[in-house]
Every structure is written in C-alpha cells, then in structure tokens.
Symmetry: C2
Subunit: 327 residues, 2 copies
Amino acid sequence: MTDPTPETAELVLAGGEHVPGLLREVEALLGQEAASWGDPVGPWGEQTISAGGKRLRPLLLLLVAGAPAGPEGSARLVHAAAAIELIHSATLVHDDVLDDADLRRGKPTVHAEAGPQMATSTGDLLFARAFTLLTEIDDLFSVRELSEACSALARGELMQRQDAWDKAVAVDRYLERCRLKTAALFEAACAIGADAGGLEVEPMRDFGRRIGLAFQVLDDVLDVSGPPERTGKPRGTDILDGTVTLPLILALQSDVRLGEIDLKSITDPERAGRLCDRIEATGALELARESALAMVAEAKDRLPEGLGEDRRRALELVADGVVARYA
Amino acid sequence: MTDPTPETAELVLAGGEHVPGLLREVEALLGQEAASWGDPVGPWGEQTISAGGKRLRPLLLLLVAGAPAGPEGSARLVHAAAAIELIHSATLVHDDVLDDADLRRGKPTVHAEAGPQMATSTGDLLFARAFTLLTEIDDLFSVRELSEACSALARGELMQRQDAWDKAVAVDRYLERCRLKTAALFEAACAIGADAGGLEVEPMRDFGRRIGLAFQVLDDVLDVSGPPERTGKPRGTDILDGTVTLPLILALQSDVRLGEIDLKSITDPERAGRLCDRIEATGALELARESALAMVAEAKDRLPEGLGEDRRRALELVADGVVARYA
C-alpha cells in the first residue's frame, strides 16, 4: 500500500503477522503487471493501479483466508488478491468514462488525460489481465467468482443508467443495485478467501454482501453530506449524475415538496448543493447512516463460528471500517 | 447462424456432419445467454449477438477441433465457441463506442440507440459472461487463451489510438497492431480447437494468426475499395478515424505527394472518398490484397500433417474465405 491510512494499518496488524508480507507481494505483482504493458498503456495502468486507495478488497480476501499453508497457498492468495484489485481498477476506469469524470482521488482520470477511447481500452485490459493472473495459478474457483462479480458490476451500472433521474425508485431496487455494483465484489473477495482458508463459503459471502452494501450506502451518504475536503469531490455528484440514492429516496418520503423537483433541471453544483441541504434537513442522512450501521452490526453478528479470535477481530474491524470513513 | 452466407454453408458441410448440430447448439446457448439478462440489457445483448454475422470464430474453433468424443467433448466445444463469440461481440460493442459508430452491419449500434454508457457496460457484461460460460465446463485452458486474447485486443485498440493520424507508421507496426486487435482471437479459436481435438497447439495457433492477419488486411482494403453497397459502410471510414492502414502505408511509399496531405484535415466522407481514389490509383490495393493472399497461401501450406482429409479441406476453405469476401 503506497499510502496506508491509520485504519488500514490497524487492520493489517490485526490480521496477523503474515498479512503485511502478503500485501507487499500483492503490491509487487500489481506493479509488475503495470510495468509489463509498455507504452502507451503502462503509464495509464500504473496510474490507475497506484492511485489505488486502501486495497480494501484484497485485504478483505487475505483476512478471510487467514494464514496460508505453504508457498502455493500464498501464491494463490496473492494472485487472487491482485486480480480482484485489477478488476476494481477496471471498473473505476470505466466508471470515469460513464460519468465523464475528470478527477479520481484528487488525480486526473485516464478518461480526462487520454480520452474515453484510451480509458475504455485500458479498462478492458485491466479486466483481461485479472483473468490471466488467475490462470497462472490454475484458480478456476476465482475465475468463476470474479467473472460473476464482473457480470454483476456491469448489470449494476446498466440498472443505474436505466433508473437515472427516476424519483420513484424503491428502496429495494436501490439496494439490489448496490448489491450488483458494489457488494458483489466484496462477496467474491470473501468467497475466494473462504475457499482458500478452508471456511464454508456461503456464510462468508453473506458477510461480504452486508458490508459491501453498507459501504455503498455510506458512500451515498457522503456524497450528500461531504465535506468535499474529506471526500475529494463536490457534494451532490450523484444528483448531477441522475443517480437516485438512499438519502434522496428517504428524503422524498418525508418531505413531499421535494417530489416537485425535476431532477433533470439540477445541472450545476450550486443547485445540487442546495438539494443536498434539503435532503440533510429531513434527517435522511441519519436514517441512511443508521441503516448502514445496522447492516454492519448484522454482518458482525452473523460471522460464523470457528474463525478463531484473530481472524474474527480483524473482520470486525473491516466491517466497522466501511462505515467509519469520515465519521 | 441466422443468415448463413453460401460460403459459410459450404464450410459447415465441409467440416463434417457433426458441425451443423454443434453450431445450432452454440446459437441456442448464445440465445439463452441473452434471454437470461432481462431488462434493459437483454434486448441490447440479444441485438448484438443476433446481429452476429457469420460466426466465423466459433466455426473455426469447431473445424479445428474435429468431431468431439462424447457429450462432454461436445459441451466443451459448444461453450468455448459461444464464449469466443461473446468476446467478439463485446469488442464490437466497445469498438462502436470508441469509433462513435451509429451503424453495424446495417443496424443501429447499442452505442447509437442507448448511448456510450449502456454500450460500455453491455460490452463489459458480454466479456464477463464469456468467462463464466467457460467456468461452467471447468475449461481453464480456454480461460487462459481468451483472457490473453482479450488483453491483445485491448492493446491493439490502444496502439491504434496511439498511432492515429501518424503517416510514418511502418508496415511492421501495422501488422503487429493487426495481430493484436484481430488475429489474436483467431489464434485463440485455433488453439482451443487444437487442444480439444488432440492436435499440437502451436502450429494451429500459427494458422490462426496468418488467416487473422489476412482477414484484417482485406478488411482494410475493403474500407478503401468499397463498394459501400457490399461493405455496408462508406469508403474511407478508417481515414476519417485517423487509422493508418496498409493501403495508405503502401500508397505513401509510391506517391510522395500523398505525404503532403494532413490526415487530420480530412473530416468529411467526400474528401475521404477522394483520398481512397488516390490510394487506389497507386496500385496499393492490389499490393495489399496480394499480401493477404500470400498470408493465406502460407497458412494453408503450413497446415500440419495428420489433420485428415476432411478437416484439412474445411480449414483450407476457411482460409480462402477470409480473403474471398466481395472479391
């Protein structure tokens, strides 16, 4: 991790002494990947991968798996963890094309610097390389999990596009969209970790789904609440994008006058910011944040027996972490 | 095949009596795929898949493999053939985003009907489903071949974008780009077919590369020669797109005054058509067509021993077919 946050550092330590070494191997493999692509992709790939944030999904996979047995076990974990990060990076690059985004984590996007064509192909390359990495260790289980997660991600994006500017979107449909576009990759990380670590897969997949949903709900809260200095983007980007999220859905239920607003008429950050204020005034942000916290609590409650004290503690920290951002 | 051309029908028959049945199973699996996606993707996926042309890559895979031994062998061929067609479809959908294309085979593109976002995600979904299909039959070999082909496709697109409007592109670099963006998928089809059919993989991969290159060179000739009534698109779309192909490279070598043209200044179909005429006048189209024919001849010459008469004959027909289009 190029720039671990304090929370991540705590997590890494809680996972056991094998975790820092494995994470370094994941970083090395990712760096090797990007370096092998040559011009002109190399720099874009490298930029995308190294802009990489917290490596939350690889870390989750490693924490669920526990200490590997021998070098083959390590290699499988490292490859699968790198593959999941490549897929996450691919979706970010494509999302930036979809959203016409110029900045990601405060840095220019591939889309902004090289155009939508370069960005589309860079994303495709990242997807493809993820699967090649998995074949290097004959890991058909992870190919299945990650290809299904990729389908879910694409379907989630398509659903979001279909629902754009639709104020009548129900909570259930919103949650299904979050499951597809965000939780599916958390589920895959947990399923692969469970398979590698000799745990029953479905209960861990369940854990992944719950914390993935909570992660997305909190993301949607932060988009409305800001502050921009912390989130790295102006408030209300979802609104400007036509993406109707839980805070707005809940606000619409308690403030009927909000229903009169034509979302398509909100085309500048200032008006979007004013709508954010109105959403906040209804108490919807608290409600949404509480529902994310409830999902996390349930995820922790339902962690299966037999994880061992260290692994359980580390996973509880991850679960808390997804809703503790900028709290 | 929804609409087999006479050449394809001949090929299907030449491949042996098992081929029509397997192709019908491939169609059924592709149809089932698209139907399973539901709204709003289903219709886009279906449209993309059923707009499908000649199913050349699945057919190539089946012809190389020969008659399968038993139902498991059949299932592997059918799944791998469907997967390769899904990947081909995915690249078409993404290419249309890259090229801002409105029509494909005379029908509106997903990009034109649903916008670049829907098209980007539809392509992502098609890619992902291809790999899921392969995991259904535990076919790690095909995952490796197709993920590497996908990397090549993306790199080819990136290279094309990097070389855009560059009149100094050398023939070697042009051919490398063709190998990446077109021949790699033919190579994969042949490699998977060879593996399934008990043939040595590398000689068949070689065959795939040669006919794939010839296919792309002829495509580039047709873009300059037209006629639009046969190709389904106006002449000179590559020129308008900034894509410098073999006909232009060869024409630049024999008509120095062509070197004075600023390719970026050619922004309308009429001017592009006039440049096509000038390219044609240099004899570059004949030269390029001859080089494609030579590649095909070499591909046929180097077909390995031990294929059996029927399989050899069928593959020779495929090879001839890639350069016989609109002859």
